[in-house]
């Protein structure tokens, strides 16, 4: 689809692309939302009108070029339009994580000196009203869903529709105003500001220009052959850079349709109804789906189980080869075709994956079995590697070269080099402008010669693919000198469906130990089948039978590590199962579910000591934060178990 993509090359801002699509494909669906249980559609010309009306209304409320507009809520068309409206007026949208607690949100709004905010519903109105005293610049709050707000009479509160009505009147008085504003925009203007969730310290505001977003979006769209007929499901947080690229950047570059999920609980149903063609999900979602499928298969009739098992074996043998275009025997092709009719196609249909031409995953390592499960069904799932500071794409796996343990080759126009300490550095048109109001941190992030630190340690393999080992500063060393990449060990554990999260310790220690979070779905299901009664997460996590189950997993990991050339000393010696899930609301994980090592090391210092001083159990009492911000404590006695460790000779020290 090079045609439509190249003709828009000189449209260097989102609003200009909006005008283009409204002209060239006015009736093509641009956005959908499920309302009243039915999918409602807006065409490009309708979306254009909605955005213009809102932009004019914002202007009438006093929004000026250079102002920032905070966006808080789930994926709703009106919120996406508000972002484009701010960009039309030369302002900058700042989408914020809607599940942030008030303190986190206050920080972002204060730091960015936000004057205007568009929020989804009463919950967000309440949250922002609460923090308004801390954000003196915030003067105007616009809400989309009026439910529950009937009696709210504050004069800083406006409804989205009223703002649009005002806007339409404004446009009648000043007809050329918006077009003039759009014409003032250029590619180097600030397009969006995204605050990173930060594994360490306070969030930083990443400033991305239109060029950053659109050039990266276009490069990837050309590489993957995306066009205006794609259907994308918008369900991931709007504050995350990926959603910005997929649901805004690429949507505006290609002209395809963005479908907003009805709510976070209905995502799977929505996927099934929609059948998106282009899809992104972090590995844990693919994993959850697979676990659900397997659990349900165990309940199926015996002939169905046999059929499933036979055809999944066929798929395992030849499916990936067929997808990669490699030679496969005629007999196998026939079996695969029958399997497709009986198992793979119906399965993909139920999951909503029937029409997927391209599925990405990123953010964490994905278990090899999970990866090959989907690929063997004929779904083109590939790994990418990126960051907010890169406008997403740093590496992408090309079609036909898709492996479970790499993140791919450099994306178009992206250059990569490895520093002496193994850190991955890159240069690309997607490199962010700066961290807002943090010149020192910006300077630290970029090297002297204009490359960007990723903070990840990686190596290139023989195929020219990049492999990420771990965060560079997390890579530690055991006391015997052996390299210890905690994420590597954790991922090996997390590949088991029973393990939801794991935190490994070992830097400056004699041996490696881990905390484990069980996956309540998978372990709960296992417990039920064994006839083990349990009364909730904490109870299940404390059971000796569950410890035995996880001991098996740990021992298997140790078997693998024992034969690894460099990491045989990283075998896990002891482990404990945590009494509660690690949670972003408690500060233990980031908003994108990444482990915050330093925080956990401080908070659970006693428990870590217990792992190393040989105790059998340790008491823990943690403060937890409930969804509405209230606090409570959860305590338990955690048992500690020893794992089976293979003796190995002195490990090879890390080659310098």
């Amino acid at each position: 689809m090079a045609g439509p993509l190249t003709t828009t090359r000189d449209m260097d801002t989102l609003p200009k692309l909006l005008k283009h699509h409204a002209q060239v494909r006015p009736n093509h669906p641009a956005m959908r939302e499920k309302d009243y249980g039915i999918w409602q559609t807006w065409s490009w010309s309708q979306v254009h009108d909605e955005i213009m009306a809102f932009a004019a209304g914002l202007s009438a409320l006093g929004f000026e070029r250079g102002d920032t507009l905070a966006i808080v809520g789930d994926n709703r068309p009106q919120l996406y339009w508000a972002m484009a409206a701010a960009q039309t007026l030369g302002g900058t949208p700042i989408p914020v994580y809607q599940d942030s607690v008030a303190k986190e949100m206050a920080f972002v709004l204060q730091h960015a000196e936000v004057k205007f905010a568009v929020v989804e519903n009463q919950e967000q109105v309440d949250k922002l009203s609460e923090i308004m005293p801390d954000c003196p610049a915030l003067k105007t709050l616009i809400y989309k869903d009026p439910r529950g707000l009937r009696d709210y009479t504050m004069d800083f509160l406006h409804s989205y529709e009223k703002v649009q009505d005002t806007g339409r009147a404004f446009m009648k008085e000043k007809p050329g105003f918006l077009d003039a504003e759009i014409a003032k925009g250029k590619g180097s203007d600030l397009g969006v500001m995204l605050y990173t969730s930060g594994t360490t310290g306070q969030p930083k505001g990443v400033m991305l220009s239109f060029d950053n977003i659109l050039i990266t979006a276009r490069n990837n769209a050309v590489m993957e052959g995306l066009g205006p007929d794609e259907d994308v499901l918008a369900y991931l947080p709007m504050a995350w850079v990926g959603d910005n690229i997929f649901s805004m950047g690429q949507a505006y570059v290609c002209g395809f349709t963005v479908n907003c999920a009805e709510s976070s609980e209905t995502v799977l149903t929505d996927m099934r109804e929609l059948g998106p063609t282009y899809f992104f999900a972090p590995p844990r979602i693919y994993e959850n789906i697979l676990t659900t499928v397997m659990i349900r298969m165990e309940d199926a009739a015996s002939w169905k189980r046999k059929m499933f098992s036979y055809f999944m074996d066929v798929a395992k043998r030849v499916g990936t080869r067929i997808l990669d275009g490699k030679p496969v025997s005629g007999m196998d092709r026939l079996k695969y075709a029958i399997g497709n009719m009986m198992v793979y196609a119906p399965l993909k249909n139920v999951l909503g994956f029937s029409r997927i031409r391209l599925a990405y995953t990123a953010g964490e390592a994905i278990g090899p079995e999970i990866f090959s499960f989907y690929r063997s069904l004929g779904m083109n799932i590939k790994q990418i590697y990126g960051s907010t500071e890169a406008s997403v794409f740093i590496c992408v796996q090309p079609n036909g070269e898709v492996y479970a343990d790499t993140v791919g080759k450099p994306a178009p126009d992206v250059e990569i080099r490895l520093a002496d300490n193994g850190e991955v550095q890159f240069k690309s048109p997607g490199v962010f402008q700066a961290y807002f109001k943090e010149p020192q941190k910006t300077a630290d992030e970029k090297t002297a010669d204009g490359w960007v630190h990723t903070g990840d340690a990686g190596i290139f393999d023989d195929n020219g693919h990049l492999k990420i080992i771990d965060r560079a500063k997390d890579v530690g060393h055991l006391n015997n000198g052996a390299m210890f990449p905690p994420k590597y060990v954790e991922n090996k554990l997390k590949f088991f469906p029973y393990v939801k999260e794991a935190v490994a310790f070992g830097d400056k220690r004699d041996a490696v130990t881990v905390f484990i979070n069980i996956d309540i779905e998978a372990v709960g299901n296992w417990a039920e089948r064994k006839g083990l009664a349990y009364s909730g997460f904490q109870d299940l996590a404390a059971r000796p039978e569950v410890y035995d189950l996880l001991l098996d997993c740990v021992n298997t990991v140790n078997d693998d590590l024992a034969v690894h050339p460099m990491l045989s000393s990283c075998q896990i010696h002891r482990f404990l199962i945590l009494h509660k899930e690690l949670d972003a609301d408690d500060g233990e994980l980031t908003r994108t579910r990444k482990v915050r090592r330093r925080f956990i090391a401080e908070r659970y210092a006693d428990q870590i000591e217990a792992l190393y001083d040989g105790r059998d159990s340790v008491y823990v009492s943690t403060e937890v934060t409930f969804e509405d911000g209230r606090k409570g404590t959860v305590s338990a006695d955690l048992r500690i178990r020893d794992a089976k460790v293979h003796k190995v000779d002195e490990p090879l020290r890390k080659a310098s």
Binding site: Y36, G37, D126, R147, G148, R150, D151, Y152, T153, E262, S263, E265, T266, T269, D628
Partner: protein, 277 residues
């Protein structure tokens, strides 16, 4: 301990606003006595229900609370006494006639159609408002189709209001208890009643679910002005959300007044509430 946590200024304004709007007596129960053979379920009960208010009926188990609701609903016919609804004295009435007159209810032990989806169950609540004849509905054309769409739209409003979109197509028998109660509330709401009778709407729920249910009840009362009569055992809930409370014990009325007045009433304390230790 307040179940409906920290009312903000906004909410207090709203509570005040709707409190002012409590209207005249819409239902008057006078000298109702009900017996089943030798068992006297209700003895000489009288109280009034005003428009737009939330009235709670409380009392120990066996006090006759559900029987009272059933009398209002038309399930039971009292041996003595009368009911005056909207100024008209009611003759002995069947439940469907009560439904047509704008009284809807939920049940203590849930009376949903377990095999039907949540959406379909809520649609059945629109039963009294469906006008097209059986032939048109069976063939599903023209006016029946249009009517179905209108009803579906209204039910979707309710589904959105009760936040049960994710389970709209799930057979209700497979839903957890708390969800079933919500669906039943939805079905009662679908009838657009003037008076809503809720029989222990929060039985079996944890604190979070109770808070949600309270919020729904208050929102319904606030947005639609529906009068509510609810039977409830959780004193925190009763004291927080009701405008007036009627206390029954062994079929007799012990007290009738605002939550604070009832809470301080010595007879009520002796019979039911007890004291803190």
């Amino acid at each position: 301990m307040s179940v409906v946590a920290d009312l903000t200024d906004i909410n207090q304004a709203s509570v005040a606003a709707h409190a002012r709007s409590i209207g005249d007596v819409v239902l008057s129960v006078q000298n109702i006595s009900l017996s089943f053979g030798g068992v006297r379920a209700l003895t000489n009960i009288s109280f009034e229900v005003r428009e737009h208010e939330i009235l709670a009926i409380i009392g120990p188990n066996g006090a006759g609370k559900s029987s009272m609701l059933n009398v209002i609903n038309g399930f039971y016919h009292p041996q003595e006494g009368k009911i005056i609804h909207k100024g008209v004295e009611r003759k002995s009435m069947r439940p469907h006639e009560a439904a047509r007159r704008g009284i809807a209810r939920t049940f203590q032990n849930i009376a949903l159609f377990k095999g039907m989806s949540a959406l379909d169950n809520i649609m059945t609540g629109r039963n009294t408002m469906m006008k097209s004849n059986i032939l048109a509905q069976a063939l599903y054309f023209g006016p029946a189709r249009k009517e179905e769409m209108e009803h579906r739209k209204f039910c979707e409003h309710i589904i959105d209001f009760l936040e049960i979109e994710a389970v709209r197509k799930t057979p209700v028998g497979r839903l957890p208890y708390g969800m079933q109660k919500r669906v039943e509330l939805g079905r009662a709401l679908a009838a657009q009643p003037d008076i809503l009778l809720l029989d222990e709407p929060m039985a079996g729920m944890n604190v979070e679910e109770k808070e949600d249910m309270c919020r729904f009840i208050l929102d319904v009362n606030n947005e639609f002005g529906t009068t509510m009569v609810l039977i409830e055992h959780d004193m925190g809930v009763v004291m927080d959300i009701s405008d007036r409370v009627v206390v029954l014990d062994y079929g007799r009325k012990l007290a009738d007044g605002t939550p604070d007045a009832v809470r301080a009433n010595q007879e009520v304390i002796d019979a039911y509430l007890g004291v803190g230790h």
